[in-house]
């Protein structure tokens, strides 16, 4: 039964913060205190330099008992910053923490009206008046505790996702690692060397991939995607689509009673397959069959049938023989998982740099992207590590690297942000060609070299010392000499102040990065916001960089914004750490902003039931009539039902209609008249 009773004789304490000069610089705080004292229901008003400080909070707790307060109002910064702090102070003073209301007079006042003290003070008075009006009507509410399913889900098994999975798995948490590709490893497995240490990327990654595979707490779900998400922190119900792979593992075979069967990665199927397709792992520069693995080190070592191109000739089934690993009739399967917390690590892809037509990617043979170059220079790549010009297979001697290819671009075609790791990998590329091709000269066309990481500037120094040529100027365009297929790169050498026309054998575009295709779908499934540039939005850029505004969902790696490997791994470890907190605690507290039914007003029309996005409302039979009933654990407190109910029968706790109307009235009627 909902309690709609409110305080009859409210006594509100008002605490106004100077925030140093942040507020006091633009708002007449003393005047505001005097004004607050004149407001109805205000029993006490004061100001303090920093109300959030320990002595500041003590003023609140002391005032509550001293002045027998029934509610508190702090006029300070945004409630999104310090609401929990002041709720705790209110609670320590002996009041229910939900009897606290905050007036935002910093972010939405003093900071945005810095040079209009009079108007800012007026606005602050209105804000305090509105907050007092609401605080006068606030009720006691109890925080609800719900148990947490001790299992984590990680979406994306690149280096960030793998690291997070290993951390959680090693902490004893059941972890589901979902990867849309047939193998784990992500972008890092496509790279040849890593900067600035020049470690072989595969060499340091493969042991990690094997660890993930072997970890008893990690359940690897490759070639799978998140299909649907329901529930909330501690209790997500996630549906995974296991895409039809056409091949069963040895474990699956054993379960089916096929002794010694299942795919052992022998590869007998591949040569017989008549279908040839480009291998996306090699950026299309190497063929694969319709039944394929990306590369020899895949984890799990399982072949995959590409049903989009398979002609179902059955030759592979024949070649596989008694192992009976191939099933060309396989269908997608759906798996339902109970999950406590989620880490999203969907990574990135290259911006389609052909959109910047002035650089001739996909027009000129010898213009390649940096990822293509990674494969070209990688010993396990399509050329066995021999860098060659795509046009004629010759060794290039002069190679240009175009930095900021699509980054720092406000035209709407490219990306406005810095992609952050292109400078460094281009330096690495420069090093690699100097090392691999005797007499070769790399030309780096750059605007700034951003070598910000540990040992990065030193790496830049080293590459310059090795003879790389740096031309400070953004490449304006690239033209091909049709006879030689050489490229003319045009820019200004801004340091010499003269135009440049350099004839090069090959050009590598350090293309901007953008969120992975499909990341947006994942993002929306979990209710995570995105920033202006499309990357997933962290809860706070500095103080909560792994969290999101959806409780229980965390971010790791480049999906949150461009990062190099060390940063991605560090964030993954951070995400794993925060994601494990609710799992270890075993329960979470939900803010009690639930909808409640005022039964005497409910007509049982049921219109609210369909409005609820969480299926938290239902109609029940009670004392001979139909009534709406709320399942509190499912209700997230959005209030969509309460905004609609034609009979006003829904009571939104903490955002109840009388409370909001009081705010509106206080603003418009409680002014200076």
């Amino acid at each position: 039964m909902v309690d709609t009773t409110m305080e009859k004789n409210p006594r509100i304490g008002v605490f106004i913060c100077h925030c140093g000069t942040n507020i006091a610089g633009s708002v007449d705080v003393k005047g505001l205190v005097e004004y607050a004292k004149t407001l109805p229901n205000v029993a006490f008003a004061t100001d303090y330099q920093y109300v959030c400080s320990t002595p500041g909070q003590k003023i609140i707790t002391d005032a509550i008992s001293e002045h027998k307060l029934t509610g508190t109002v702090v006029a300070a910064c945004s409630p999104r910053l310090h609401e929990p702090t002041f709720r705790t102070a209110t609670k320590e003073g002996g009041l229910n923490p939900f009897r606290f209301e905050m007036a935002n007079i910093r972010e939405q006042n003093s900071w945005v009206h810095m040079h209009d003290r009079e108007a800012a003070t007026e606005k602050a008075k209105d804000a305090v008046r509105m907050a007092v009006a609401k605080a006068s009507l606030l009720q006691d509410l109890e925080v609800k505790t719900v148990p947490v399913e001790k299992a984590a889900l990680i979406v994306g098994a690149g280096v960030a996702g793998m690291q997070a999975a290993l951390d959680l798995g090693n902490a004893g948490i059941k972890t589901y690692l979902v990867e849309k590709n047939p193998t784990i490893g992500g972008r890092m497995s496509q790279l040849d060397k890593t900067f600035p240490t020049l470690d072989c990327s595969q060499c340091i990654l493969t042991p990690k991939m094997v660890d993930v595979y072997r970890n008893p707490n990690i359940e690897l779900m490759t070639y799978s995607e998140v299909e649907a998400v329901e529930g909330y922190i501690g209790n997500f119900d996630v549906t995974i689509r296991k895409k039809a792979r056409g091949v069963i593992s040895m474990e699956e075979a054993e379960a089916k009673g096929i002794k010694g069967g299942g795919c052992n990665g022998c590869g007998d199927c591949e040569p017989v397959c008549p279908v040839i397709k480009p291998n996306p792992f090699e950026m299309g520069m190497k063929p694969r069959k319709a039944i394929y693995i990306y590369h020899p080190q895949v984890v799990p070592l399982l072949y995959t049938v590409d049903f989009d191109s398979c002609i179902k000739c059955g030759l592979c089934v024949e070649a596989c023989g008694e192992k009976k690993a191939i099933d060309l009739e396989m269908m997608d399967e759906f798996v339902k998982l109970k999950i406590g917390t989620v880490i999203i690590a969907t990574g990135y892809e290259l911006f389609p740099v052909e959109k910047k037509t002035e650089w001739g990617y996909k027009q000129f043979d010898n213009v390649v992207t940096s990822l293509e170059f990674e494969r070209l220079i990688c010993a396990s790549g399509p050329t066995g590590g021999n860098v060659i010009r795509p046009s004629d297979g010759q060794k290039p001697k002069k190679i240009g690297f175009v930095l900021c290819a699509g980054s720092r671009d406000n035209t709407g075609v490219g990306k406005p942000y810095c992609s952050r790791f292109c400078c460094m990998y281009s330096l690495k590329h420069a090093h690699q060609i100097i090392e691999k091709i005797p007499g070769a000269t790399p030309y780096l066309f750059y605007m700034d070299i951003r070598s910000f990481g540990k040992m990065y500037e030193e790496f830049y120094y080293r590459i310059q010392d090795e003879g790389a040529k740096f031309i400070r100027g953004r490449v304006s365009n690239i033209l091909e000499d049709p006879a030689t297929k050489n490229l003319h790169v045009y820019t200004e050498d801004t340091l010499l102040g003269r135009p440049v026309d350099v004839e090069l054998d090959m050009v590598v575009l350090a293309a901007a990065v953008q969120p992975m295709e499909g990341a947006d779908t994942v993002r929306k499934l979990f209710g995570v916001s995105c920033s202006q540039d499309g990357w997933m939005l962290e809860a706070h850029p500095k103080l909560n960089p792994c969290g999101t505004t959806t409780a229980g969902v965390y971010l790791a790696g480049v999906c949150q914004g461009p990062k190099d490997i060390p940063d991605a791994v560090a964030q993954a470890e951070g995400a794993a750490s925060v994601a494990s907190i609710p799992l270890h605690r075993g329960f979470v507290e939900l803010e009690p902003y639930f909808a409640q039914c005022i039964e005497e007003k409910c007509a049982g029309c049921g219109m609210c039931v369909n409005l609820c996005p969480y299926q938290a409302l239902s109609l029940v039979e009670k004392e001979g009539r139909r009534l709406m009933q709320v399942t509190e654990a499912k209700c997230k407190g959005c209030g969509t039902c309460g905004g609609f109910c034609p009979g006003g029968a829904i009571w939104m706790q903490h955002f109840a209609t009388p409370q909001i109307v009081a705010q509106i009235d206080a603003f418009l009627l409680g002014g200076e008249q």
Partner: protein, 196 residues
């Protein structure tokens, strides 16, 4: 830099000169020779401009030491060696003291001057000093006014250098002749005076 366009008016020819940077302009060996002569990591310049900012000549001329460092890195030999600004460095070493890359730009300038001199591009005043040393052993030799003053101060009329001990002069001349410097100096100075 190359590519004469055939305008009869030299001013117009200069104005419409092709200013693209072509491979043909640049000499990669240039940078290496500069490094050898200057004994400094001249190729490591990252063009921050500290040198030009420290330079006493920069604010009162078009001389930009950073630009010479750039020409060095890009191998723009002709451009560097024929630029009259090359001779405006006072060799004060302020840039060298402040260079964050620990390069000695002053020594790079000296190396460039050496390479210019190889092409007989040397301002005449430098060569007149050479000639003076060849004939007297001193760049600023004694004169009669000074001899009188010396005497007045209780010093010998000729200082106890090669001025007094003339037997040392042939040795000095031998060193200069070893490099053929005197002959070159005479030739270049005569030519310059002919033009003047």
């Amino acid at each position: 830099m190359a590519k004469a366009k055939g305008y009869s008016d030299p001013k117009m020819e200069e104005k419409l000169r092709d200013r693209y940077y072509y491979r043909t302009d640049s000499n990669p060996e240039f940078s290496k020779r500069i490094r050898d002569i200057s004994q400094t990591v001249s190729h490591m310049c990252y063009q921050c401009g500290t040198c030009t900012g420290s330079c006493p000549s920069a604010p009162r001329s078009s001389y930009r030491i950073r630009l010479f460092m750039r020409r060095n890195v890009m191998g723009l030999e002709d451009e560097a060696l024929t630029d009259p600004d090359l001779w405006l460095c006072t060799t004060c070493y302020s840039c060298t003291d402040r260079c964050p890359r620990d390069i000695a730009p002053t020594d790079v300038i000296m190396a460039m001057r050496n390479l210019a001199a190889e092409r007989d591009i040397i301002p005449v005043n430098f060569l007149k000093t050479v000639q003076a040393i060849y004939t007297t052993g001193h760049g600023v030799p004694n004169n009669d006014v000074n001899r009188a003053a010396r005497q007045r101060l209780g010093l010998e009329r000729e200082p106890p250098t090669v001025h007094k001990y003339k037997q040392y002069l042939p040795g000095i001349q031998k060193i200069l002749d070893h490099y053929g410097l005197k002959a070159r100096a005479d030739k270049i100075v005569a030519e310059a005076e002919k033009h003047a």
